[in-house]
């Protein structure tokens, strides 16, 4: 819990600064820069929400000592997470190949930096989820990783409208 509060402050700060940058800007996205396409990130967001639900289901199954269904739901949730990360990476790579650079404009800086920092956390969380998928030891440890996953998903839900629309 404390750990999450700590992380919450980190992302809270990021979200706040993004919000400020956005409120101050006269135009978002600004002129003369290729805006980020909202299409793929929206699909990614849906995948992420679905993934949270699946992970939760998996955890409930484990609690009921149903190992097989646990593997099914948890694994599917994991795949959805990987899908999210893949879409996000593709979005950024595509944007980069269109010539948008992080230093070009505050708009681009915010999107690149925020998505990458969030993505790194997603990557770490996926590692944890995968480890628990292989070796589910106790319900408590699954719950901790589950919480972290839900938390990092919520963070994205807070960032998503700020960054993409």
């Amino acid at each position: 819990m404390i750990t999450l509060a700590s992380w919450g402050m980190l992302f809270g700060t990021f979200v706040l600064s993004a919000g400020l940058a956005r409120v101050r800007a006269s135009q978002w996205p600004p002129d003369g820069i290729i805006g980020l396409d909202a299409y793929l990130p929206s699909i990614a967001t849906l995948a992420l929400i679905l993934s949270s639900v699946l992970i939760h289901k998996g955890y409930m199954r484990f609690d009921k000592e149903n190992l097989k269904e646990f593997k099914f739901y948890w694994g599917l949730g994991l795949l959805m997470g990987v899908f999210f990360l893949a879409l996000q990476s593709y979005t950024l790579i595509d944007w980069y190949s269109k010539g948008v650079r992080v230093s070009q404009h505050l708009y681009a800086s915010v999107i690149y930096v925020w998505i990458i920092i969030h993505g790194l956390h997603i990557l770490g969380a996926l590692g944890g989820l995968f480890y628990k998928f292989k070796k589910p030891k106790s319900a408590a440890s699954l719950q901790i990783w589950g919480w972290f996953w839900h938390f990092i998903d919520l963070v994205w839900l807070a960032m998503f409208p700020l960054l993409v629309f």
């Binding site: 509060a5 990021f14 600064s17 505050l106 800086s109």
Partner: protein, 591 residues
């Protein structure tokens, strides 16, 4: 308490947790999981940096006292291009690194790292921290931060020179080129992460591993201080981390989060003031992060050495809690001159001044503890009284800074420097010394020499008062902070005398610390052997044998008394103290 018991079982019944004696040198002293060894690692790490930081302050004071004169003996070695005169760019590096090192690499490791690690498990009756592995990682990450900071002293173009607050626009690559400041950011980032890891461990340990019967009311105030510090650490270092990360992006990847449109390369509007907000949202809690453990320890020591219960101990703990809460919403008083709206400045002034109410409460409790006590002037007590005095003066000067009309005059002057040294630097330094003198017998099994300790105290305390009260006078007379040669301004010329006086006091205070170092190493080897409870106090750490076994307690103790039950009439004439673990009808409450 049944709840606690089950946690005890959960974490202590397992054989793997009751770790045996580590056998190899590495597992015993280097990659150790034992909180007592980690405490010592933090201690030596902090002592090294404290020496570096203190030496820098001597250089700074030399430049202010004897501008244009070569620094004696080692000067020409340090500054070969100027024949030993401290050049202006080195001066800015010196005050930046002095502040950074003292706050993050001297006081924090010793006061929080060493004493937190040593005291928490022992004082709450636990066998170790809840997560010993995290504890070990926290030290080594701090160490990595220290290595990066040390490396930054030697890069081309020099170390960071933008002040410990690292404000943009100065902190950007165009104005602070080179690796110095980037390494500074990376180092603070590592150190911050380490602190968060430590803080999470402290909080979890204090919540879960308290011995049966150790209720909130029976918790030593030391532990209260450390707990609240950890809470602030866990919540506010992330804000600094995010702020610094963006600054690093600006420096390394050409973004412009903190640059105004007119000077940013891409012409878009970032915001330098945003950084100041983020820094002080962290920065104000940080000053309490540093002082809270010292307050807690002093509250205990005053009681221990007055042989009297701590006056209003519950109120003191309550005051600490309300200060912790308030400290999160006053940061704006560092930014009154940034042109914030009068509505905001008014709000921040009010909130800032509100802090004096709980501060007044615990301060009066301190005096109440001393009142008609049977005072023993031992070394921990002397240093604690030093904290009472310096904090009293320092705290009062905060009021002048907290009120907008006087702040506008005093901001960025030596008055601020005097203020924060008395409150944050000196009060926590003296508190740290009190704690080291107090717990050294438990840590190293020997007594420090009381005689040397007293010489150390007076030769530190008196010069310190001269230094920092003198600085406030200088600030009141209009002297800016962070200024290489004040005497270039005619209206500051007459302050040369005052500054020389301050500097001489500073050299004396610096020299005095060698008395401590000598005492420390001499007594460690040759000091009088300390028994298991030389101060005759009742807290749990003194119920363990000295040297403390790896698992601390053979049997987890049960706690019946508060930490300050001194001179209770029921105790009779033969003694004036009772251990927290001893059951005595009429004093104790059953578990």
């Amino acid at each position: 308490m049944s709840d606690n018991k089950s946690f005890q079982d959960l974490f202590h019944a397992h054989d793997d947790h009751l770790h045996g004696e580590p056998t190899s040198f590495i597992s015993k002293y280097i990659i150790s999981y034992d909180h007592k060894v980690i405490a010592k690692q933090f201690l030596f790490f902090g002592l090294f940096w404290a020496f570096v930081g203190a030496f820098m302050s001597v250089l700074i004071r030399w430049a202010l006292a004897f501008p244009g004169k070569a620094f004696p003996i080692v000067g020409s070695l340090l500054f070969p291009h100027t024949d030993g005169v401290i050049p202006p760019d080195a001066y800015t590096m010196l005050f930046t690194m002095h502040g950074t090192i003292m706050i993050f690499f001297a006081i924090t490791p010793i006061l929080i790292g060493t004493l937190g690690n040593f005291c928490i498990p022992l004082m709450i009756g636990a066998r170790d921290m809840l997560f010993p592995w995290l504890n070990m990682a926290s030290f080594w990450m701090t160490f990595a931060g220290g290595v990066v900071m040390f490396a930054s002293l030697f890069v081309p173009l020099g170390a960071s020179a933008v002040g410990w607050t690292s404000y943009p626009t100065l902190a950007h690559a165009q104005w602070s080129p080179g690796w110095g400041h980037s390494l500074w950011i990376i180092s603070i980032f590592l150190m911050g992460n380490a602190s968060i890891m430590g803080a999470i461990n402290y909080i979890a340990t204090i919540i879960r591993l308290r011995a049966p019967g150790l209720t909130a009311a029976k918790l030593p105030l030391t532990i209260w201080g450390l707990l609240l510090t950890a809470v602030l650490n866990a919540l506010f270092i992330p804000v600094l981390a995010a702020g610094l990360l963006l600054l690093l992006m600006d420096r390394m990847f050409g973004t412009s989060f903190y640059l105004a449109a007119a000077i940013s390369q891409n012409g878009t509007q970032g915001d330098p003031i945003l950084y100041q907000h983020l820094f002080w949202i962290f920065g104000h809690p940080e000053v309490y992060i540093i002082i809270l453990p010292a307050w807690g320890m002093v509250s205990d020591f005053l009681s221990f050495f007055s042989r009297k219960p701590a006056f209003g101990a519950k109120w003191t703990a309550g005051a600490f809690i309300s200060i912790t809460l308030l400290s999160t919403v006053v940061y704006g008083h560092h930014m009154f001159t940034t042109g914030m709206s009068p509505l905001l400045t008014g709000a921040f002034t009010t909130l800032t001044l509100l802090i004096s109410i709980p501060s007044g409460i615990f301060f009066l409790n301190w005096l109440g503890t001393l009142w008609r006590g049977n005072i023993q002037f031992t070394s921990p007590m002397l240093f604690s009284l030093g904290v009472v005095i310096t904090f009293g003066i320092g705290g009062l000067t905060g009021l002048h800074l907290g009120a907008v009309p006087t702040n506008l005059l005093l901001h960025n002057s030596y008055f601020v420097v005097g203020h924060f040294h008395l409150t944050m630097a000196v009060a926590s330094l003296l508190g740290t010394y009190a704690a080291v003198y107090f717990w050294f017998p438990k840590m190293f099994g020997k007594m420090l020499s009381e005689k040397l300790a007293k010489i150390h105290f007076w030769t530190s305390f008196l010069p310190i008062m001269v230094i920092f009260v003198g600085m406030m006078v200088a600030g009141y007379a209009g002297m800016h902070r962070r200024i290489y040669n004040p005497y270039e301004y005619t209206y500051l010329e007459h302050l040369l005398f005052l500054n020389r006086y301050i500097s001489l006091a500073a050299f004396l205070a610096f020299a005095s610390q060698f008395i401590f170092l000598f005492n420390f190493f001499y007594s460690w080897k040759k000091g009088e052997v300390a028994g298991s409870n030389p101060w005759k106090v009742g807290t749990l750490e003194w119920t363990t044998p000295t040297p403390v076994p790896v698992h601390n307690f053979d049997v987890i103790p049960e706690v019946f008394n508060g930490p300050h039950e001194f001179s209770h009439p029921k105790l009779g004439d033969s003694r004036d103290w009772i251990s927290q673990t001893e059951y005595l009808e009429g004093i104790s409450t059953p578990v």
